[in-house]
């Protein structure tokens, strides 16, 4: 089955306790596409870049099963840029600058032939734009949705409208507490499930993730890593791996989504081992599957 991915494409300047890189490929949709491409083979990216987005980037994405017919390239425009510095714990970060550039006036247009795509992934963008996408698509089988603390702060009502219409919400633990005003993560999950999404994933960074569906819960730890280079894109790689696996297998049962979550966890671990998208660019399915089976050994009793 095919997967429609809407999100940001960016050039990042990143500083971590390990190193610093400038103007390197980033953006939520980029990580999602790269991770998903290891599973589903028809992934359609809808996003916007300037003409500083060059052929090398296009070739790399296409090589990873990303179809770019929905990519808007603004002539004379500059691609979205973000700069951030991670603290010693690799968890907290300060945003150093945000240059929206062509992203400021981004209006996602879903090409006619893609409006019936079976699986849709709304990456972390302004909720009215996510709603705009929802209004253009026709009866998808399953909609994944991400968001961030900023939108919970300044677009809560619009975000809640989106959340009511999607199938799976994927957020982190602090976001779940912000949405619900609950301090306990399981009470937060209960609150959010009542709003609408039948499937909820709460990510806890180095502590793994929780998956909620009706009255069932599944937990997964993060893959154990002694060294991290750059946490940027970990959540997007997780989501991309998960959505790609679900789109490939075309099976939205609880049991199969659990497997997708494990694959997502593996892709996130490969992502953070290197800067930018480097950790996702040259993986083999054997490497990915080995890590999947390590996750099994890590959790089985």
């Amino acid at each position: 089955m095919s997967l429609l991915i809407i999100g940001s494409i960016a050039f990042d300047t990143i500083e971590t306790p390990v190193d610093k890189v400038e103007d390197t490929l980033g953006g939520s949709a980029t990580y999602i596409c790269l991770a998903a491409g290891y599973f589903s083979k028809q992934n359609y990216l809808v996003g916007v870049v300037g003409d500083d987005f060059n052929n090398e980037h296009i070739t790399m994405l296409e090589k990873h099963n990303t179809d770019l017919q929905g990519l808007q390239i603004v002539k004379g425009g500059k691609t979205f840029r973000w700069g951030g510095r991670y603290h010693e714990n690799f968890n907290d970060r300060d945003t150093l600058f945000t240059e929206l550039n062509v992203f400021e006036t981004f209006n996602p247009i879903i090409p006619d032939n893609l409006r019936k795509t079976e699986f849709v992934l709304l990456g972390n963008i302004d909720p009215p734009l996510q709603m705009n996408v929802l209004n253009q698509i026709e009866k998808p089988k399953f909609i994944f949705c991400d968001t961030m603390n900023l939108w919970i702060d300044i677009r809560k009502n619009e975000l809640l409208e989106v959340i009511k219409k999607i199938d799976m919400l994927v957020i982190n633990d602090s976001e779940s507490k912000m949405i619900s005003n609950e301090k306990n993560i399981f009470k937060a999950a209960e609150y959010i499930q009542k709003i609408g999404p039948k499937y909820l994933i709460i990510k806890k960074g180095e502590h793994g993730a929780l998956f909620f569906h009706s009255n069932k819960i599944f937990t997964i730890p993060a893959y154990p890593l002694k060294k991290i280079a750059d946490p940027t894109g970990a959540g997007d790689s997780f989501l991309g791996g998960l959505a790609g696996y679900i789109a490939k297998t075309d099976d939205i049962s609880f049991e199969n989504i659990k497997k997708g979550i494990v694959y997502g966890t593996c892709l996130a671990s490969f992502c953070v081992e290197h800067f930018s998208t480097k950790g996702l660019e040259n993986l083999s399915m054997e490497e990915i599957n080995n890590r999947y089976y390590e996750m099994k050994e890590l959790t089985e009793f």
Copy 2:
């Protein structure tokens, strides 16, 4: 097989966001004995109390398979008292007072007939006292050992000497980082394993625990709870459940220890649902096993 447990016995005054209790039964060894008693039937407690420790407490411990021949009751003395207040997150806490009382001059004496006990658990007490116990016992099959940040701060050398002689060290994540001076938990584990203990457990509170043995790792989440009353004794209940299960099954294989860790996780969850030791006093094996199987469903994929 039988289990020798050395640790503190206390009366606690505890304030949590939920409620407050005064002079209620506590202490590391108390929680350990109660949790272990659901599994191993011959648990010998070595500790000290004043004569304010009454028959009701003795009867309750004995009912939970705790043999008290090693308990020193100091006539005219007062039992150790501790007071603490938990923050809104149920994680951080402030110590309000510590009255060592009879614990100040505690000198653990292992009765002759208990020196060959197969399983030994050194609860969290001053490392020289733990070493004192090690010098009195004869070739136990397996030694569990707990400690705390205070001893890492002020008795690091003595603690390291103890750690070299035990089989399993059970500590929390911040303690693992203190001992190793590493920020990454897996590097911290690697460092500690090199010091000596063949088995290492790092507890992460609400995020579960990690178990390390040679090059193998096992992860377990905490049992999902929407309500917590009092976190006091969670770590001790975990350790008691684990050690009791290992002593009962007399099997120190990696696979069996994993099962013990799951049982420990279940006992910790029952503990924190009520104040003081109340959550551990009236459990059935059916309740415990139900939670064990819930843990399986929670983690299996």
